[in-house]
């Protein structure tokens, strides 16, 4: 029996070693390096000189706009994506006949077959001077500017992140036992009330997963604001690109990055608390 359990333990260790090694080398080490850099100083030619100072952190307010933008666009973009994705996922999971479902699902993923970079370029043309604004010109709305506006950034966000939001919600709606809806109907629930009281709460795990995915990725986004915001809408991601690649101020860039990670950890754990708390709350009566 002892033999069995030691064997089992060895197996566990053997199975977990590659993952742990990967995790350590690929995730923890770079983070540690960045954290160390953030207390250093920029050398004369750029890059990093060892030191221990809080100067970089003291300098954070100079990037206030980037932080503010990220912290408003990320939640807002998540919310808008959710509002667009939910009806789509609902349609796919509930309304479409199984015959068409697969085809439509594939259509949702098809854009992923080319890189986001190329697809975002396409949006530059669509929203740019010779795209939609020209069409609007024809029907009498002159001088509408779309590219390089917050609107363009939000459009880009919805476009880029929609599938990430659609899939988890689709899965949770698809898994939903349709007999529960009939039961609600049978007990006097109108279709709308049935949606509010049964469908929506039971699809919350999918909503939570989708929001989490989109939110975290949006916090680090730099491509969409750079291309469609034209430097007017500036995210932390863009600040980081600047600091590391242009001004070669690695320590300050590291401080910004560390701050971003900390903000992310705090918001995500608050969010988890909230959704978990909700689940626990449901133990209480809802009457």
């Amino acid at each position: 029996m002892t033999g069995e359990s030691t064997k089992g333990r060895w197996l566990t260790v053997a199975l977990l070693t590659p993952t742990s090694a990967w995790f350590l080398v690929m995730l923890v080490m770079p983070l540690v390096v960045v954290a160390i850099f953030s207390f250093g100083e920029r050398s004369a030619v750029g890059g990093y000189t060892a030191s221990f100072t809080f100067d970089q952190y003291a300098n954070l307010p100079s990037r206030f706009t980037a932080f503010r933008n990220t912290l408003t666009y990320a939640p807002f973009g998540t919310l808008v994506s959710l509002l667009v994705a939910y009806p789509l996922a609902y349609f796919l999971a509930v309304k479409v006949s199984p015959k068409w479902r697969l085809l439509l699902l594939v259509l949702v993923i098809v854009p992923f077959w080319t890189s986001l970079l190329i697809r975002t370029y396409a949006w530059i043309f669509i929203l740019g001077g010779r795209g939609i604004p020209t069409l609007l010109d024809y029907i009498g709305f002159e001088g509408v500017r779309l590219i390089n506006t917050p609107f363009a950034v939000v459009v880009g966000i919805i476009y880029g992140y929609l599938p990430l939001m659609v899939f988890p919600i689709f899965v949770s709606l698809e898994r939903l036992d349709k007999r529960l809806l009939e039961a609600s109907n049978d007990l006097g629930g109108t279709p709308f009330r049935t949606f509010l009281q049964v469908t929506l709460p039971l699809s919350m795990p999918g909503v939570a997963t989708g929001c989490m995915l989109v939110f975290i990725l949006l916090m680090g986004e730099f491509l969409i604001p750079a291309f469609l915001g034209g430097g007017k809408v500036f995210f932390i991601g863009n600040a980081l690109v600047d600091l590391f690649l242009q001004s070669r101020n690695w320590p300050f860039g590291s401080a910004v990055a560390v701050t971003l990670v900390i903000i992310m950890l705090i918001t995500v754990s608050l969010y988890m608390r909230l959704t978990m708390g909700r689940a626990a709350d449901r133990n209480e009566s809802i009457m």
Binding site: D177, R179, L180, E182, A183, S184, N185, D186, L187, G188, G189, T190, R193, Q197, V198, P201, L202, R282, N283, S285, I286, M287
Partner: protein, 384 residues
Amino acid sequence: MELNVSMINSDKSGSPDIQFDQVTKRYGDVVALDNVSLSVERGEFFSFLGPSGCGKTTSLRLIAGFEQPTQGNVQIGGVSVIGVPPHRRPVNMVFQHYALFPHMNVSDNIGYGLRQRSPKPPKSETYRQVDELLEMVQMSGYGKRRIWELSGGQQQRVALARALINKPTVLLLDEPLAALDRKLRRDMQIELQTLQRDVGITFILVTHDQEEALSMSDRICIMREGCVVQMGSPRDLYDQPSNLYVADFVGKSNFITGSVTNINGRYVTVEDANGRTFVGAPSASASGFSVGVAASIAIRPELIVVSSHNSCAVDMATDVALNGRIKNRIFLGEHTEYLIETDGLGDILVLSPKHIESKRGAFEPGEAVALGWKNAAALALEDS
């Protein structure tokens, strides 16, 4: 919504609770129900009985409003409900796998129906009624439990309470006991029957367990491939099956198949493949025999008399006498079931009551026996 329900409730008294007029339901090419007409009276315990796929669930779903008939009319309390959505019908359903809401506790599940009303009743009123129902299904104190913390039997009770809270005029039950083990099923059958008598509303039960249907229902509708084969009280179906299908489905029977050679007033004579003739009384609900058509003689196992081989058939005073050998014996408590191998008629099932067994002693497998029955105990049945 309130208006509609009360409209349906305020029917002319005397009209049946549920009525199907030549209802046909097709799913594409599949005919799930074929020209079915039936009516269920107020306060009746009515069962749909039949093999898988015969259209039992479809019938319930037509009453609940989840499906609309392709042809024909469905009435609840004398009012046609064609086009009325489920949430406006005064019937409630206990689903096959209960379909309890997993994100709500027991009380919230039971109170769900009340919360859908407009105006919503006050909380205190909801709690009071939920507690009342919890008590009725013997689940007091379980209100705060989560659904997955309940056993199958408890979930069944919650589903029942949830379906009763809106005081439906008809309660629909789709194989409500199928998932329970035998013992629990017996208990729940009795509880359901008592409950139905107490609340006095019409129960419509779907089952493919003939024992369940026989023991619980006032009336049973036997179905096959979307058609009603026979409708009647358990006693009628058992004693006077309209054809071989019903006799085979309801209870156990021995069958001798052949063709009709003679019809004389009270009896029909059937000749089997070996040229032996047997006589039986035509079932009261049979539509009529003619010489030459395929027919069967059916004898219920409890109507066959067995005695030991040497005490000859004469003292049993039976019309038919056979010799056989005990092939198998199953002790069932009140009865002993014998499978007897006969010459010419194959294996015959006999049910012998306890008091006879204890008088003459049980037969051992392999023992030679004499068996027989009176012609009056045999039924002549049409084959379809």
